[in-house]
Structures are given as C-alpha cells and as structure tokens.
Symmetry: C2
Subunit: 195 residues, 2 copies
DNA sequence: TTGACACCACTTCAGCCGTAGTACTATGTT
DNA sequence: AACATAGTACTACGGCTGAAGTGGTGTCAA
C-alpha cells in the first residue's frame, strides 16, 4: 500500500474520470492506471481493494468541490436578502455543473452504493454532513429562510443539475438561469415583492 | 427477431431488474436471459443489439408506470386546492418509490445515455413529454399553480425519491411524508394559510 | 545495504458474443 | 389423416477480451 499523496490524488482524479466515462462497472484498477497514464499495477499498489477505491473516490469528490474559504467569506458580505440567496444558488449550480465528471461520478457512486453497504454508509454520512453544513451556514449568515428552505433548495437544484448534465435537451441550457431564479423565488416566501 | 409480445415484455422486465441490480454495464443478453429464466440466446433473438435493448427498456419503464386512467380521473374529483395537490404528490411519490428497481433502472439509463446518443435522444423526448403532460394535466384540472410550479415539484420530488431509494439514511423514512408536504406548501403560494 | 517505491511480464480466470445447429409446435395443404 | 413449412424455443461450441494477482527487476535515497 503506497503512500505518495500526490500520486494517490492523481489516481483518484483519474478514477473520477473513469467513473463518469465508463460507469461504475468500468472502474477497474487497470482502467485507472490507463487514465492516469501510469504503469499497470500502480492502482493496485495504492488501493487494497475495489471497495476501498470506490470509497476513496467518494471522499475525493468532496475534497475537490469543497468551497474555498474565499467563496464562503464572500457569502457573508453585503445584504442578506433573497437576491443574495439567488446569487449564491447560481454560484453553486454553476460551480457544481462545471465539474461535470465529478458530479456524474458521484451519481455512479450513489447507484453503486446500492450494492456496497460500506460505500452507502460513507456516502450517507458525507452527504448528511454536507446538507447540515449548508443549513448551518445559511442560518449563521442570517440569510432568509429556515432549514426546510435549504433542504428544498438542495433537492430542486440537485435535480436541475442532474437533468442538465445527463439530458440537456429536457431543460434547454438558456433556460437554466431563469429556472434557478424561479426556484429561489418560489421556495423563499418573498420578503419584498411577490411576483 | 422474435415477435411474441408477452415474452418480449417479460424480457424487458427482467432487464429492468438487471439494470437496477447490476448497473448499466451489467445489462447483457446473457444476464437478461438468466434473470428471465429463459434459455441463453433468447434475448439475442428479441433484440438486435445492446443499444436496442437499452432503448426498449426505457420505453418499457414508462409503459409500466403510466398512470392508470382511474388514478387520473380521481385527480379531477373534489376540490382543486393546495391540499389536493399535496395529496396527489404523495400518491406520485409513493407510486414511483414503490417501483424501486424501475426507478433505479431509469437512473442507470440516464447515466448510460451519456454514452449513447440514440438513447439520450429517446429519453429526452420521453421525459420532456412526461413533464409537458404533467403540466397540461395540472392546468386542465384547474389545480392551483402554473407551469413553473409543476416543474419545481417535478425537480424537488424527483430528487427526494432518488435520495430515498439510494441513500435512505440521509432523509429518514419517517420524515419523507412531511418533506413532501413541505415541498408543496413552499412551492405553492398558499391560498388560504401562509404557515 | 536496506527499504520504499516504480515498473513490467506472465499466468489464470471469468464472462460475453455470435452463430450454427437441433427440436418443438402450430398452421395450412393435399 | 399425413405432411410440409415457418416461426419459435433451446443448446452447444469457439473465440475473444479484459481483468486480477503475483512475483520479479530496476532505481533512488537514507
């Protein structure tokens, strides 16, 4: 079991690409080696089992998507009204959408977790923590809306991203922006205007 | 290319189970044969290619989930208020959730459509048609809310179902009912009460 | 020199495809 | 009633691909 962290990260990033491109079943040691352009056998030396590989990929995804402290701080500046929330949601949707392979890989992991109890547990905890962190952030920032608001935004926007990344013709790209705005306007009992 | 429709349907149902259980890559002619408990080679005789198989499974899913006319008619009875919508949404969520393997299979198809243009086109059209049908139904029934309302319900509830079926620990089962209610209450500008 | 890491080769194994070929059944014909 | 044919069901074989695992060699640095 090798330790070189840079190489390990590179392998996990390669695994994300493989997952997105080939699906869960396509995630093999060999495929990761090939994607990372390292000699055959390298991935085997870094991960004790395929199960292990799946789980580390799940963690890696969040490592890469985790908000930079800068963005977080920016959220705390300026007025705390609904427009602010809308802005933040646009940011999030675009940031996540931009990491297409990562998001698709996570979806593959979700489905794979149906078959791997250990992975399911890990993902559940990770995602629950993520939702909770969002709720806490929202509340501490004094943004309008409560925990339920955050959960609803989480659900609707996640599906929107999923749709956008898998079947872009269902909701055409140029309508996405307005759709995000609509989501926030309807979910947040509008303080200010009502249309 | 055999024609026996009952057998064909049985094979497609088997394919749904395989998709849900083994993932997209696991959907092979042999696996379908085994699942349907028919001799090896049968699926090959019914579907000209794997691509063809994927597409027919997509259609089959909707065949099986398509609302019975009874349910549709029931939606038109009684008052057309928000409580009615809530009720309908509970029905939908439960009906879809109950067809677990089907829903998981459709998610697999979505991800697979990333790699199969023909499948992507087929799914896009089918789903777009489904959304439109929901909007039309909603409007014609005189239920509160507009097209955007329906789309938002579609997005939020779909993700809710996805979460429920893949990572049930994120939103515990006994909170699902209230969550559905919350979704409707927040998305529909409440005519009547506001909390 | 020893140990950690990188790289390579070989063997083994499993799964799938496609096709060819056989058996069954129903239908229509003489 | 016997038979021929077509559509369908089933079986078996040959060949290919791709993955795993292991062991062995090379390289660099403490």
């Amino acid at each position: 079991m090798r330790q070189n962290p840079a190489r390990r990260a590179a392998l996990l990033d390669a695994a994300i690409e493989v997952l997105a491109r080939e699906g869960a079943r396509g995630l093999t040691f060999r495929a990761v080696d090939a994607e990372a352009a390292v000699p055959v056998g390298t991935a085997t030396n870094y991960f004790s089992s395929r199960d292990e590989l799946f789980m580390q990929v799940g963690l890696r995804f969040y490592e890469r998507l985790e908000p930079d402290a800068g963005v977080l701080a920016a959220g705390l500046a300026g007025p705390r009204d609904r427009d602010r929330v809308t802005e933040l949601m646009h940011d999030v949707v675009n940031r996540v959408s931009a990491f297409r392979s990562g998001y698709l890989a996570l979806l593959e992991l979700r489905l794979e977790s149906t078959r791997r109890p250990a992975l399911r547990e890990l993902l559940s905890e990770r995602i629950r923590a993520d939702v909770d962190a969002n709720i806490r952030y929202h509340e501490e920032a004094g943004l309008p809306g409560d925990a339920t608001t955050v959960v609803l935004l989480y659900m609707a926007l996640n599906w929107l991203i999923l749709e956008r990344l898998t079947l872009p013709d269902v909701f055409p790209e140029d309508g996405i922006h307005d759709l995000v705005t609509d989501v926030v306007e309807r979910v947040l009992p509008g303080p200010g205007r009502s249309g």
